[in-house]
Amino acid sequence: MEQRKSPVRGSAAGQLSFPNSDSRSAPHNPQRPARFHLSGPPYLLSSFSGFSPAPVQPASLLPCFFSSLEGISPKTISNIGGLHQMLSLHQHIFAAVPRDSIIALPEHDSTNKYGASFQTPGGRLLIKPAEYVELVSSMKPDFWVTLADEVPAWVSDKRNRTSVDRTLRWLDDCLSLNKTGTTIFGSIVGGSSIEERHRCAQEVAQRNVSGYWIGGFGLGESMDERAALLTAVTDNLPEDMPRHVSGLGLPEEVLQGVAAGIDLFDSTYVYHLTLGGFALTFPLERNKGDNADYQLSDSGGDDMKINLKATIYRKDTSPIVESCNCFTCQNHTKAYLNHLFNVHEMLAQTLLEIHNTHQYLGFFCSIRKAIEEGKFEQFRRNFVESRRECLFAAASSD
């Protein structure tokens, strides 16, 4: 399924391809390519829970996650023909992950030897490997992640060890239940223990999987302790297999992940920004001195984002970002968005989600470019330093 060219330790750019599944039909695209090519990690994956499939125009394919443990029945999804058919997104790649950082957070207290527990709006849900595999097979994603027992950083050592044992057992269960020979990513956990992370990664690396999903992050640990934990995992994984992490969304976290050798990311960062009315504005070409003109005020924005609800934008007839060519910036002004947010209109979030997704995808594009040019470390340093400068300037101007 996949290959990675130029395996450079740490940050690598490569190609990720998925075979065209025969069970999928695309009535509108008779000349589909035999394989989907996603040029070079890292990629941004987003969970589409919430906003309408607005006219986002990605430069390349946009992989999406779909996490559904309740709601529409697996049989109905099957009858429709799977996720691609149901969402009418035939050109997209879908990955099935049990954890959804918006509506299905892992509930480690209730997880037991039978299955993983999740906290959802409909209550607590326990899902066993067999049920999970059945759900996944009805969705027909391009790849899926094995069921994991994710625990946050502060659990006891004993609980943490149990989570690794369970995750490995469920990985084997999923592999043996996988009748259709679909593409599987093995789950790696281990909490905040370097040893357990090592152990789990080594075990999973021995299984016959096509990639790795690294869980247990974005659940409350700090950025400082995370770096070592990430490398504890990636050090044990083959160079030429993709690595995917959930729950790391802040640009700095993404950069940290990329430095540790992560290829795919999914998070709710964009979703939460949009909910709060924040628009991403950081320039995608990070040269020093670019970010002199930002509005640091009581509006709650900073050099990376602006708060569109703030009154300073009431009469602002400029787009969110001048040079942005997303639908929203090409068609609408900050003033209009400010009005829509203030009157609580649905369109506000639709338009803002389009822009934020576009910006964020652009960020990943810049990262890939920096890697290809061999300048990733510099790119990361510049980014982090200019953030620090802005925050310092803000603090000292008070």
Partner: protein, 369 residues
């Protein structure tokens, strides 16, 4: 006058026309979705264009509140603010006043009410309403009328009708942009044919660019409803657009078009969508019902914008009666077309006997319908 109205085809009273407005060339009959606060909920302008929206309604009351008509004016008008390239219509704000604010009171001066922002007493006069609408900049603006519900009886209706006529003169005087915005008058008079007649004559004397039939779609019975529409369309000038406010259901649109109306607006399609109800040729589909949970067929929508497009083309192409019959057959497959529809179609001169199980003829042909 800032519009042109050219009839392209007819069938008895029904007509298909081209309505040229400052921002867009429209085909009538047409339906105007309601974009209350400067947006049709959740839809982008591209999507609206795609589904064939020609005119969108903006709500003067809400927009004057937020973001204010002064701000809209300063930023170049509502078209520019929304980036809507086609036509806009604003209502006077009067209806919201009366329906939303229980402490509203109507006097000769205007509508007095409590500001929802700070509770201060405020007054919306005909002059003020027109000024706000001038600032918003829509292609069509509505006169402030004294609107009463048709379910009310008594001298209040007559008072409201005469006041509407007095107010139209104040609206005309206050209108600063007659070459860019079309001021429509609104016919009131409740369900009383005599009052309606007086009002129609009074408005027609003022030679306005277009006329609306107001005060309906408020709970009156359908039999009264169609008769008022029929009377007004018969009396209003042929060469000007006629707008039935607050209509509505697809069936109502077809009947009113058969009787000679051209324009409609209603919150129904957008509101019912928010409750999970889809409009289909056979009626409605309640998508949230358990019965729909495993139904993998598409909805097969009959969007109201599509409906008006079909109306227009069927009249122009000389197959309006066939269109009406097919419409009724799909909606009433058992042939149980309501009596009021049969009566209205009789007056409109459209033979729907093929759709009805039994025809009823109890319309008084000597009336002014």
């Amino acid at each position: 006058m800032a519009l042109k109205f050219e009839v392209l085809g007819r069938f008895n009273r029904a007509r298909a026309a081209q309505l040229t407005l400052p921002h867009y060339l429209c085909q009538t009959p047409l339906f105007m979705p309601v974009g209350t606060q400067g947006t049709i909920k959740g839809l982008t302008k591209n999507q609206l264009e795609e589904i064939g929206c020609q005119i969108i309604l903006g709500n003067t009351y809400h927009l004057a509140l937020r973001p204010t008509s002064e701000l809209i004016d300063e930023l170049g008008g509502l078209h520019k603010f929304m980036n809507w390239p086609r036509a806009l219509l604003t209502d006077s704000g009067g209806f919201q006043m009366v329906s939303l604010l229980h402490l509203a009171d109507i006097t000769e001066k205007g509508v007095t009410f409590q500001s929802p922002v700070d509770g201060k007493p405020m007054l919306l006069t005909p002059e003020e309403s027109i000024q706000i609408q001038n600032r918003i900049g829509a292609d069509i603006i509505m006169a402030l009328d004294d609107v009463v519900r048709t379910t009310i009886t008594g001298p209040r209706i007559e008072e409201a009708m005469y006041r509407t006529l007095r107010w139209i003169d104040r609206c005309i005087a206050a209108h600063k942009r007659p070459n860019e915005q079309n001021l429509f008058g609104i016919v009131q008079g409740g369900l009383d044919p005599v009052l309606r007649d007086i009002c129609v004559r009074g408005l027609v004397e003022r030679n306005l660019p277009g006329y609306a039939i107001g005060g309906l779609a408020g709970g009156e019975d359908k039999d009264s409803f169609w008769r008022v529409v029929a009377q007004c369309t018969a009396a209003l000038p042929e060469d000007k657009p006629r707008y039935v406010m607050g209509v509505g259901y697809p069936l109502d649109i077809v009947v009113c078009s058969a009787l000679g109306a051209d324009m409609y607006d209603c919150v129904y399609p957008t509101r019912t969508a928010r409750f999970g109800t889809a409009l289909v040729p056979e009626g409605v589909l309640k998508l949230k019902h358990q019965a729909m949970a495993n139904d993998i067929r598409p909805i097969d929508p009959m969007c109201e914008c599509m409906l008006s497009r079909d109306l227009h083309s069927s009249i122009v192409e000389g197959r309006f009666p066939e269109f009406v019959c097919k419409f009724l057959q799909t909606m009433f497959p058992k042939g149980d077309v309501p009596e009021w529809v049969c009566n209205a179609m009789e007056v409109a001169g459209i033979d729907i006997s093929s759709c009805c199980r039994e025809m009823r003829f109890d319309v008084d042909k000597s009336s002014t319908l």
